[in-house]
Symmetry: C2
Subunit: 127 residues, 2 copies
């Protein structure tokens, strides 16, 4: 087995266009032997956000600290620690940290591969 704590991993800035103040740690991924899905840890600085985007794979998220405004399509919902979000594939989505003082922390699981639309599978970015 692998046991890891997020504090043991150096955070990396999320490089996607439109991301602001988002750091990322890969907790369990393909390089650790994960065959089906990966677990990633995100920290969003006060006022920061992930980019609004969509992709052909789902997210499963649990909020660990802070609060988030989650956008899915035209829907906005505020979520708190302990809340879980299932974001289906192909739904436009964004996570924003509305706080001016506290970071938003969450884990986000994704499949390690996805159907890239031409009948073949690709490794999921960040998995």
């Amino acid at each position: 087995m692998r046991i890891i704590n997020p504090a043991q991993i150096e955070p990396q800035p999320m490089q996607l266009d439109g991301a602001a103040g988002v750091n990322f740690r890969l907790l369990v991924g393909r390089d650790h032997g994960a065959p089906t899905f990966a677990m990633r840890h995100f920290t969003v600085a006060p006022g920061g956000h992930t980019p609004p985007h969509r992709h052909n794979y789902e997210h499963e998220v649990m909020i660990l600290a802070g609060k988030a405004i989650v956008r899915a399509g035209e829907t906005l919902r505020e979520v708190k620690p302990g809340d879980v979000i299932f974001m289906p594939a192909n739904e436009q989505h964004q996570f924003k940290n509305p706080s001016t003082t506290d970071p938003l922390v969450f884990i986000c699981m994704v499949p390690v591969t996805f159907d890239c639309g031409n009948g073949s599978c690709q490794p999921t970015p960040g998995s």
Copy 2:
């Protein structure tokens, strides 16, 4: 999207032989449209434990509260809130709550199907 908090779900006792004091909530699963993996929430009462068992699919776990003694094969490790455990397929494993006062709480993700050994896939129990 689906937003859910564990407190909104009635816990169910884990029915596996050898489980003691284990309650279970399905947060995101096949019935919610999860295509690849499921998220489950477990509470283990003080002194309780999951059964020692193995299966042909992996676990990805994050400890949320309390502490656990995790057995993998002959290895025993103590883990605390925020720690993440990747338990590969086919490794004998068990989660015990060594506390006499506090519950152990964790989430455990599994693939929604697994290779049941005769060349076909079955739905993963509890997904």
